[in-house]
Structure formats: C-alpha cells, structure tokens
Symmetry: C2
Subunit: 241 residues, 2 copies
Amino acid sequence: MADLVYQQVITDLNKRIMANEFADKKLPDERSLSEQYQVSRSSIKRALNVLANQGLIFKKRGSGTFINPLYLKNQSSFKYEGTNLGITDSLNTEGAQPSIQLLDFQVIPASQELQQDLFLAPDEFVYEIKRLRLLDDQPFMIEVGYIPIKLVPELNRQVVSKSIFTYVQESLKSAVTKSFLSISADASTAEDQKLLGLKPTEPVGVMSGIFFLDDGTPFEVSNMRLHYKYMKYTTFVSTEQ
Amino acid sequence: MADLVYQQVITDLNKRIMANEFADKKLPDERSLSEQYQVSRSSIKRALNVLANQGLIFKKRGSGTFINPLYLKNQSSFKYEGTNLGITDSLNTEGAQPSIQLLDFQVIPASQELQQDLFLAPDEFVYEIKRLRLLDDQPFMIEVGYIPIKLVPELNRQVVSKSIFTYVQESLKSAVTKSFLSISADASTAEDQKLLGLKPTEPVGVMSGIFFLDDGTPFEVSNMRLHYKYMKYTTFVSTEQ
DNA sequence: AAGTGGTCTAGACCACTAC
DNA sequence: TAGTGGTCTAGACCACTTA
C-alpha cells in the first residue's frame, strides 16, 4: 500500500506539516523537494496534488506552496462524519463504542429501481438488510441496505451483524472504495422517533448511496436515516479539473 | 481555459460518451487514444483520471476502461444541488427563476471564531450579509455570510443583492474555487418557519462553508439554512489517493 | 503470452509572481 | 530577471487480467 514513491512522500510531508516543521507556512519548492527525497519532480507534483485536493495545502503559481492553517482546526467533535472518505463503515468513533443491531434480514425480488441501480435482470434477488447502528448503546442511524445475492451468495445473519464491507474485502478481495452519495434532510417518521429516540419536532438526516467495488460493479444501495445531531458530513471541495 | 491538451481530451471524450459512441461501455485503451488524439499517453491518463474522479468511468488494471452506466441516471429533479462543484452560487435552477432578497447588510467587528476562520486580527471588521434566496418567488434558503471588509472595501447593497462571487471574480480577478463544506440537519426555528414557509415539524438542512480564493485566502464564512425539500447534496466519493 | 492500466523518470518549455 | 508551479512529452518498466 505505502511502498509507492508518491505515497511515501505524501505520508512524510503530512508528518512534517503536522509537526509544524514549516513554521512560515511555506513548503520548499518542488525542485528542492525532488532533491531532498531523491525522486523525480513528477512524483513530488503528484504527492502535492493529493495534499492540495485534501485541502491541506494551496499551490500558487509563481510564488510557492503554502499550508492551509484552517485544516487542523477542522476536527470537531464526536459526530458521525462522512468526510472525503465517506463510506458507511468508516465511522469516526473517537472513543465511543460502535455496535450494530440487526432489525431485519431477508431476500426479496429486486424492485425496478434496484434493478436499475444494481444492474439486475427483472427476476434477480437482493438481500434486504435493516440495521440499527449505535454508539455507546445510543442509536444514531437506521440503515436499510440492498445487495444482490449473486455477489455474496453466502451472506448470513452472523456476517450481516458486523461490517459487511470488511467481510467483502476479505472474501471477494475487492474493496468498496467508490460511491455516489446524496445527502438531505427530512422530518422524522414515527419509526424514526421510536428507534432513534427523537421528539416529533426533531428531524433526521438522510444519506443515500450506491457503493461500488473496485471494478465498477455496483455492490450496494443503502438508505440511511440519522439522528440529526449525529449527521455531519464535511468535505473539501475544489472546482478545478 | 479549454485550450489545454488534457482538457480538450476531457471535453471530447465526454461528448463521445454522452453520444453513446461506445456502445459496449468500453473505451479504447490508453495507447490507442494517445494515437487517436495525437497526444502523449500521460495526457490521456490525466484526462481519464479527471473523468474517473467524477464517477463517469472506471479504470480496471489489466482489462480496460469502462463507462459508468449509472452516471447518466443521476440528474434528478429541481432541487438545490451542491454536487462536486458545490459553491453557493452554482444553483441548479432548471428553468426556475432565482432571485435574492437582501434582509440585512452591515459592518461588524469579527467575532473570535470569524477571526480564526478568516485570519483576521482582533480589531478587524467584516460585512454581515443576510440574504433570502428564492426560486420562482418561493424562498428556499436563508444565508448569512461574513466577508472581511479589507478584501472588498467597496461592497454595497447593490452588489450584495446579486452574486457576490461573480462580482469578486471580475473585480479581484480571483475566482472562488475551493471550500470546506459541512452539511447537517436541524429542527426549524421560528424564524426559519416564517421565512421559508415551514410547518413547526418540518426541518431545515444546514450547510456551513469557508470559501477560499485561488491563492488560499479565506474569503467568506457562510451559514445556510435550507428548506429541507430543496437541499440535496450529491457527490461522487473515491477513497483512493 | 499478449494486452491493459499504474508508476516513475528526465527534461523541455510555458505562465505567473516577485523583485 | 530569477524563481516558482503548470503542462506536455517519450519512454522504461511493473502489476494485473485474460486467454
């Protein structure tokens, strides 16, 4: 994983930045870094691009590369965070103990919408997995997931009570690294209120996603309803290509 | 803007994909594309990487590059969309007429938090701009923005009643292309209900952002409260570096 | 074994900033 | 004018998939 040249540079620069080695908020120029690390300038550029896309540094043509002082400030609280790594299972627990309560688990025919999203023929089946996620025994999210049975024919209640993605990574040797995500808000339903302990006036955050395997196969459609105090999706956005 | 080689390739490939030229969902291999476009393979790779980060294609080592059939499906409705271009002013209006109603406009001392986020000294001032945004005369968003006066000393009610970012781009010759965004949900306050026409049980979507100029200068802190039916932030997420 | 995408290099030249 | 990041090239070699 980290034996690639540009990834080593990323890791090391990250460390140096966090250690406040560049007190003037300015990084050495690319040609010097190329010398320092004994790698080509292209590799340095690639590493710097990754850091820039994360919002950690800004590059300014003609003057240099600068650290974003706001980057550090941005680690707030004990919330459920999507962040740029925004995958369901990447929970920012910060000490709290995450757990899963399986509410329902069955196999059903794929609806028309699921057929579209998961590339299924009309007669194919999916698992419907309804789970309640908790942090320190406090419920914060209701998650309903749909997975084609043909992708993981051997799924069972045991597996499904833990992290499915971890299981997939081990059994299929294919990680879930990409997704379409949609984030919105909604009034809470009676079920939301009951399961998440909400008052009738309190809302839920809604996150829906289609998750893909490495090779582009749509793996899961997931609809999540979160206690509003636990939903906080943070991201760094850049409009450049 | 679009005279760069890799951007031309992006534009053209986009066109060809949308025109369904690759009916088998497979793109030509990189070396062939390099031939076709008469550019280096590196430039092809750069273009393909951009398209892959947008979720339009998947690359699979050893077998080829494939179009994501779900990409097209994803243009839903008349909602306010953040998307990857997620800047306040990039409104997906889809025919609806956007307008702005200025609610309040004054100059105040920067709070401690604003000093941190906008890099201000304790005695510096900011504009506080409170606006109501509408689509076809239907209010959908309350926006409170804070901008250091020193960055745009000549701001006035006239300017502020339109798009500030457009104004900045013209007057400072620096675009607002990067931001930290945080998305969450909240119960509606009495003011939300009044301004956005919400019932007491209906929630708001909350988006907060720090917007940066090209050179990394924090330009604006913005807190937005949206009618929940109009907030839908969609994005493609990839965990790879 | 052949084909495909991934990594990495060395170097030329351009565009912008600062002095 | 010197220094900085941006673009682009040509080519070597590696890692993985498919047959």
